[in-house]
């Protein structure tokens, strides 16, 4: 096994480290601690955070990549597979490997379309993997499914109870943290996860797509792409937005003019056009330099990062404008005047007096932008200028499923699965963002 650190993996880990460090640091900052306590006290926010945490766990598992060693041939050096796998792939190996020929409905035992069978005319052929354990006893399918659902529910409860005891006993979140809603959300998620896990051992819970891949596997793999686009883009645009926003607001004069012209120009170019042009250019560069990439996963990763970069370049303007306006207000505050009266330098004033008083806006923008970017990725991939076609994402799933909506009977599960997961992710992010804004915005009604 050879560990393959993709660039996006490294950045995601870095981001997580930053979040952890930020959390550690904010424990010592009274105002931040107060605001986070407010977020913690909100039931909705904590439920949303639990859902987000589940998504993040899936995303992180999917970000630990490696190349498995090939079976040794003689005494030669160990050869590694060309395929890059992640920890999530390893965990979901049964799902990944059991692909069918083409479409099959959720929990089906037969393919979705009739085919010519050897000498028996046209019929729905049996699936190679879905429901194969039933043998010829197809009548037992309903009973089998019911059995698995019930066992799964039991498993969910069994997993939840220790968690409940642990929280109760250790008195985690003593005080006003809404642990009740965390436990409640965890309960619901485990109740869903248990049956799904057991069912997926024997069936394709969410059906299969055109080339027979399990849709559940695809949706789980899409989570990482969504998370990466949502977070890395903000990470890329944040320094530019903060730096330029504060400079424009505090220094003023020609610097302000220049930065304003820059973002007015960027804003007046239609966003999709700019992104399309940039993505296609990147694609040409990637295609003309195959020697840069050892595996196709690395190539797809480069394109994903390029997309983050491009989205970042086109989306810093809004935040920069917001920060500029706020800086214009802050620089007239008496405490900035007082610092100037002491002869404190410009840079020190920006760092000590302006930046800390802007952090709530930055944080709010960060969480608010996340859901918008996840949706933007879906739209861009649908149009064909998003991630690499080999990268599994909500957008590519929707793109692949769009033609099948016109079929009769309709192939709905691909789209429905992508929609449901994306909806859960974006809704959780939005609810969490709302709570964060309420807690951090000083203008909000207390």
């Amino acid at each position: 096994m050879k560990i393959v650190p993709l660039w996006s993996d490294a950045l995601l880990i870095l981001l997580l480290a930053l979040v952890v460090a930020g959390a550690w640091w904010s424990r010592k900052q009274a105002h931040l601690k107060d605001a986070w306590r407010k977020v913690g006290a909100s039931g909705t926010a904590m439920a949303a955070a639990t859902v987000l945490a589940a998504f993040v766990v899936v995303g992180v598992l999917d970000s630990l990549h490696y190349r498995p060693a090939l079976p040794a041939k003689g005494d030669g050096p160990v050869q590694y597979s060309n395929e890059v796998l992640s920890v999530l792939d390893a965990l979901l190996l049964p799902l990944k490997s059991r692909s069918e020929k083409t479409y099959s409905a959720p929990l089906a035992t037969h393919l979705f379309a009739k085919e010519s069978l050897d000498g028996e005319g046209r019929d729905f052929p049996r699936l190679k993997h879905g429901g194969v354990h039933l043998g010829q006893d197809l009548a037992a399918q309903d009973g089998d499914i019911a059995m698995r659902v019930l066992t799964g529910l039991g498993l969910g409860v069994a997993l939840w109870l220790p968690l409940w005891f642990w929280v109760r006993k250790r008195k985690i979140g003593a005080g006003d943290t809404a642990m009740g809603s965390v436990l409640g959300t965890a309960f619901v998620m485990l109740l869903v996860a248990g049956p799904v896990a057991l069912l997926s051992a024997g069936y394709h819970v969410l059906g299969t797509d055109k080339v027979g891949q399990d849709v559940l596997y695809l949706t789980l793999k899409s989570i990482r792409t969504g998370l990466l686009i949502g977070t890395l883009t903000t990470l890329i645009m944040l320094p530019a937005a903060v730096l330029l926003g504060i400079l424009a607001g505090y220094v003023g004069g020609w610097v302000d003019d220049l930065i304003q012209y820059l973002y007015t120009v960027l804003n007046s170019i239609p966003g999709v056009l700019l992104i399309a042009a940039a993505v296609l250019m990147m694609q040409v560069i990637i295609d003309t330099h195959p020697e840069w990439f050892a595996t196709s996963a690395e190539r797809a990763d480069a394109r994903l990062l390029a997309l983050c970069l491009i989205l970042g370049v086109t989306s810093w303007t809004g935040l920069a404008r917001l920060l500029r306006g706020e800086t214009l207000k802050l620089r007239e505050m008496d405490y900035v005047q007082a610092a100037r009266a002491f002869g404190v330098g410009r840079l020190a004033i920006m760092l000590r007096h302006i930046l800390p008083n802007l952090m709530h806006i930055v944080l709010i923008a960060l969480v608010m932008d996340f859901s918008g970017l996840v949706l933007a990725e879906a739209v861009l991939s649908y149009v064909g200028i998003g991630v690499d076609p080999n990268t599994i994402s909500f957008g590519t799933m929707i793109n692949a499923a769009r033609m099948e909506l016109a079929r009769e009977p309709m192939v709905w599960w691909s789209l429905a699965a992508a929609f449901a997961f994306m909806f859960a992710l974006v809704l959780a992010a939005n609810l969490f963002a709302d709570a964060v804004r309420d807690a951090f915005d000083p203008r909000a009604v207390k």
């Binding site: 105002h31 008496d334 007082a338 610092a339 009266a341 002491f342 404190v344 000590r352 800390p356």
Partner: protein
């Protein structure tokens, strides 16, 4: 028969009671004033009468009878007819009370239509004394000055021909000369229309001028109710007396102001005895045991205090001896200081004119003395103060400090204390870091940690407060911290920009005492920028009066305040509502201060001057020296 009769009115917000058992009556045509510091529940009482309480608050009990109607019982529909029709309200901030996208006339007409009132918008505007009303009805709020907006608000309130006008701090946001105009308008209207008025104010002077009856509020309760004469000749409650004693004026010069320790208790406080007991100088053990009952002192004066018999006396006055005039070398010399802001127009941003915010100001300030720079808002006094420190680059003129010309940020020797104690401390820094900032930036030698503790003690706080955050402190304490920050770099001169105008009168007294004490101990010179004449009278040695970017009169405090020679100074002084000045002759100015972008020709003051002659419009008058220290820029002074 009273028009409005309030009995045991209580308002509750969550656990707290901002209004707790308030009872008073207002007779038709009379004025009742609610007096008290901020946070005492005055505005909440008014909003409860109008049933306009914020969502979180509700009337918890009591009755409000307006004529024959019980206001706490009527449905919201009927209440809407009463608001504006029976009783109307005007608010503190005229700027935000008018809709900026509708003409003034339209807004008044709307109120007329709503209540089926008589009269036209023009007549109403005329009635509130807006000149050229026919033109003004077609204008938008932004075209009116603050005083005119407040008068337009009054006109709107009159549209429904109300029997009761509730005025919530109607002149607090206005300058004294404008305040005088608005108060006169209110008084005349009241007389003409036989309208009753509930006046809410923290200003004893305004109350003395307007009220028939006074109710003093403290922590949600009325503590004293009295007719005006009785109240102002002999306030009975210790709180009322403390309010009088905390007022700065010439009589208390050099002495210490009686300040009330602490501040108004927070909303959720539970009281067992007298609410004022914690801050009362004359507290008895019995005060903390049971809430005091009302006691009748005769002539309509009632007080909620158990020990009033003996203490019913006029507020004590102390006169201290004035120190000898120090004829020292000036520490600060300012010559012809000017700050002009360019007005840019068009695509190329060409300069088409200048706002002459400060236009040739010259000052001298000896060490250890206080020079008060007095003027109304917009006269350029704050800009002048900031230009001294080069916080705003001056356009022309020179600033010399202790003989040296200052061409850049005068970091160490001059420091500034700002008006708003909430905006002047960075909320993201601890108190210690805030105070240390200047020492660090200027590399002041010594142990900064120890010095911070020392400074905190010096301004009346505790050394261990260095680790706390600004939001844990009240307005007065924050102002002390701001003073400590300025003192940290051992300056010789402090520019104090309205340091007490955002504070309540009792807290103002604490800060003024502190400033006086620091000056005596450290030999600091103060440039005290203010619009409050009473504070000037108390603390300043010299006064410079500013009007539209220029100093019109300057001199020793006795010379300028006792024998003012410039008509503007005279008008400014007579416009100040005084506690003890009943029936004094007043000089009410017409109109507003012109724009500094386009000042009048000749003497800037001549369009508003009651004694202007043709000569005044010709050229700006030279300074006439009346004594070694007293100078006036007015042609009349030279002639007299």
């Amino acid at each position: 028969m009273s028009l409005l009769s309030v009995r045991d009115l209580s308002v509750s917000i969550a656990a707290g009671k901002p209004v707790d058992g308030v009872s008073f009556d207002i007779a038709p045509g009379a004025t009742f004033a609610l007096l008290g510091e901020s946070g005492c529940g005055k505005s909440m009482t008014a909003l409860a009468l109008m049933r306009l309480l914020p969502e979180t608050a509700r009337i918890a009990g009591g009755s409000v009878r307006f004529g024959d109607t019980e206001l706490t019982q009527v449905p919201e529909r009927a209440m809407r007819g009463l608001r504006g029709g029976g009783m109307a309200m005007i608010f503190q901030e005229p700027g935000t009370s008018l809709n900026p996208v509708m003409t003034v006339g339209r807004q008044i007409e709307e109120a007329i239509e709503l209540h089926g009132g008589k009269g036209k918008a023009v007549e109403l505007l005329d009635a509130v004394g807006i000149p050229d009303a026919a033109r003004r009805v077609r204008e938008y709020p932004f075209q009116l000055s603050g005083g005119m907006k407040q008068r337009a608000m009054i006109a709107m309130a009159l549209a429904g021909d109300p029997q009761l006008l509730i005025a919530d701090e109607p002149t607090t946001a206005l300058d004294v000369t404008i305040q005088a105009q608005v108060l006169d308008v209110l008084r005349d209207l009241q007389r003409e229309r036989g309208m009753a008025m509930l006046l809410i104010s923290h200003d004893l002077g305004v109350v003395a001028r307007m009220a028939d009856h006074v109710g003093v509020m403290y922590a949600g309760q009325l503590v004293e109710v009295a007719p005006r004469e009785g109240f102002f000749s002999a306030p009975a409650h210790p709180y009322s007396r403390a309010l009088f004693a905390a007022l700065p004026d010439a009589a208390r010069r050099g002495g210490e102001l009686a300040s009330i320790p602490g501040s108004v208790p927070p909303l959720a406080t539970r009281f067992s005895g007298c609410r004022f007991a914690e801050r009362c100088a004359e507290v008895l053990p019995a005060c903390r045991e049971a809430p005091p009952a009302w006691r009748d002192l005769g002539e309509g004066q009632r007080v909620r205090c158990i020990r009033v018999e003996a203490e019913k006396s006029a507020p004590a006055t102390r006169r201290a001896e004035e120190g000898a005039l120090a004829a020292a070398e000036p520490l600060l010399t300012v010559a012809d200081l000017a700050v002009h802001f360019p007005i840019r127009r068009g695509i190329l941003q060409r300069t088409v004119g200048h706002v002459r915010a400060v236009d040739g100001v010259s000052l001298d300030l000896p060490a250890g003395r206080t020079l008060a720079l007095v003027g109304e808002s917009g006269c350029g006094k704050t800009t002048a103060g900031k230009a001294l420190l080069h916080l705003i680059p001056p356009t022309a003129g020179s600033v010399r400090f202790a003989g040296r010309a200052i061409a850049d940020l005068a970091a160490r020797d001059m420091q500034m204390v700002f008006q708003d104690p909430y905006g002047s401390l960075n909320p993201r820094l601890r108190i210690g870091e805030i105070i240390a900032e200047g020492m660090r930036a200027l590399a002041v030698p010594g142990d900064h940690g120890a010095r911070i503790g020392e400074l905190l003690v010096q301004v009346g706080l505790a050394a261990e407060m260095a680790g706390r955050w600004p939001h844990e402190f009240s307005g007065g304490q924050r102002q002390r911290i701001a003073i400590a920050r300025a003192l940290a770099v051992n300056p010789k001169l402090l520019v104090l920009d309205e340091p007490t105008s955002a504070l309540d009168v009792s807290v103002q007294a604490q800060i003024l005492n502190l400033l006086r004490e620091l000056q005596a101990r450290l030999g600091l010179a103060y440039l005290f920028i203010t619009h409050n004449i009473a504070v000037v009278d108390y603390i300043a040695h010299e006064v410079a009066v500013m009007y539209l970017g220029r100093i019109v009169e300057r001199g020793q405090v006795q010379e300028v305040l006792r024998a003012p020679r410039h008509p503007y100074t005279q008008a400014l002084l007579s416009a100040v509502p005084r506690v003890d000045a009943q029936g004094q002759e007043r000089l009410v100015l017409q109109g507003d201060m012109p724009s500094p972008a386009n000042p009048p020709t000749g003497c800037h003051f001549h369009p508003r001057c009651p004694r202007a002659t043709a000569e005044c419009a010709a050229s700006y008058p030279q300074e006439t020296r009346l004594s070694a220290t007293h100078g006036v820029r007015c042609v009349l002074a030279g002639a007299a």
